[in-house]
Symmetry: C2
Subunit: 322 residues, 2 copies
């Protein structure tokens, strides 16, 4: 079994580092003046396959995006698999192939890995932890702590697609049209953003907890408030309808292929235009601004003309979304 | 719950990288001429606590050792936790504290991490994947492919302690004295070995599958055979007795604090002496030599004067040993 798996991995991810068969991968140092970025993510999504992706492609995108939002150039991935005994080899093959295709498309090879098997009933099919190593240009400093009053808050597209795709599949909800996860590698889009807005304060990918959690985190880290414009926040009609049906707020639903950007107001229009020129940013929009607020509240002007708080959720609305 | 966990992790592993609260850690580039080494390991050991350690300390030692055997200086760790719902917080606290203590003792900070929770019955307490980043000096090239006929095969101490400690605890076997895991960070010992034997071909840590699997892997990678001397292989009396009782071979039992080294014969005595001067290498010994063998067989001269093959095991003798 272990041999089969190693052959499967070796063939799918094939590269000079894996072929060496050593305990780790030896990699060149980054370019002159560059620093390193290290990020890790466990992926436990359920179901393993969903419209728009699977745990394999998600494990690549999730970690590549953690590097991308730091402003880093993703270089390499390490992958660790925890398999439940009896997990169908055909499913594993499908996942590994999808993961290898996502890594190839992103240009980020899986250079080292590990596999463990646990007894039936002690896992759930497969869990994948991916760790990414990236290079960060000299002087670049994106951080959740950088937002300033007056800055613009921008998103790269519609909110809630990934989480709602998972939930619809999990609950066997039949909507008129399939909701498809937005799972995608965002380092190309992030590079565009860095170029278009030299004063860019920060990037984030609004995954678990959705846009609401991400913006509240930024408000906490930067010691600021935010005022959003509900009418400006892009949500697809299918996701809006599904949310209404289920009594959920799209701002709390996870995304896996969207950026949140904060930049000086003067750079906002240029940044939105640049994002919209990229296939992954077609529906980019400026959705609000950073405010001076000792309470660090994230508020929203509603379409009805009122104001409401955009809160953290107390619990996890959707477990195992990624 | 997630907040509690983040506070627990933040306090235990406290360092400037974690305090930033970003999606990844920004780290300085390695020194001039140095390359990088990346290694990852999932830890699923059962039971979580055992004589000589727990899953937390093991997760640090396992990955630090993967870097050490590449000849690298371990610099940073990333940690990802998959928790089963309902796992006692007191147990998690104990594990995280032990992990933080092991990281501090090894001088390798945990700079970034992630936590996911799965439903009861979909995990087994806690699984921990650690990924390590190290720096490799210019010109250093340790690899399983480097062994040459005539080279000496050296181990840094007794074989089988970790696996037998786990098995004894799991099966509730009562031996006269507790068998204690050898789980330890080996980068200090590895650095000594590199200094004592400038011609060092390779280092390995004989974990899953024990010494037998590790030597067979090296034989395969290097295209050589090996001839071992059974009488020279150090095994503690307790492990030897337990193995006899259970019908197991100590050469197939996992270690978590031992090095296998292959070096030119002329450097063997100096290397053994250097290892013996370190607290983790007191029982170091030269146990055999590399031979020219197109069949890549690992053979052993037995204490009775015969010869036997040292085989890979077909299956995994002891699942979830690390």
């Amino acid at each position: 079994m272990v041999q089969l798996i190693n052959e499967l991995f070796g063939r799918a991810f094939d590269n000079p580092w894996l072929r060496r068969g050593d305990d780790g991968a030896v990699l060149p140092a980054p370019g002159p003046g560059e620093r390193l970025v290290l990020a890790t993510d466990a992926h436990v999504v359920s179901p393993l396959f969903f419209p728009g992706g699977d745990i394999g492609s998600l494990a690549v995108h999730g970690t590549v995006n953690d590097l991308a939002v730091m402003g880093a150039r993703p270089l390499y991935l390490a992958a660790s698999f925890i398999l439940e005994e009896g997990f169908p080899l055909a499913d594993l093959q499908r996942i590994v192939k999808s993961m290898a295709a996502a890594a190839l498309a992103a240009g980020v090879p899986v250079v080292t890995g590990d596999t463990k098997v646990v007894e039936r009933g002690k896992g759930d099919g497969v869990f994948i932890t991916t760790t990414g190593l990236g290079a960060l240009a000299a002087g670049r400093d994106l951080s959740g702590a950088n937002a300033c009053p007056g800055d613009a808050v921008i998103v790269s597209g519609t909110m809630g697609d990934h989480g709602m795709a998972i939930m619809a599949r999990r609950e066997n909800l039949a909507f008129e049209s399939d909701i498809v996860s937005d799972s995608a590698a965002l380092h190309g889009l992030a590079a565009l953003a860095l170029e278009a807005a030299p004063g860019l304060r920060l990037l984030r990918d609004p995954t678990r907890g959705g846009l609401a959690a991400t913006l509240n985190e930024i408000a906490q880290q930067s010691g600021v408030g935010m005022v959003l414009d509900e009418a400006a926040i892009p949500v697809s009609p299918q996701v809006a309808a599904a949310c209404e049906f289920l009594g959920l707020d799209p701002l709390h639903i996870a995304n896996e292929g969207k950026l949140v950007a904060v930049c000086p107001a003067a750079e906002a229009a240029g940044l939105v235009a640049a994002l919209r020129a990229h296939p992954l940013g077609l529906r980019a929009a400026c959705i609000g601004e950073v405010s001076a607020d000792a309470h660090r509240f994230v508020q929203m002007k509603t379409v009805l003309g009122g104001r409401r708080m955009v809160d953290w959720l107390a619990g996890e609305q959707l477990p195992r979304i990624c």
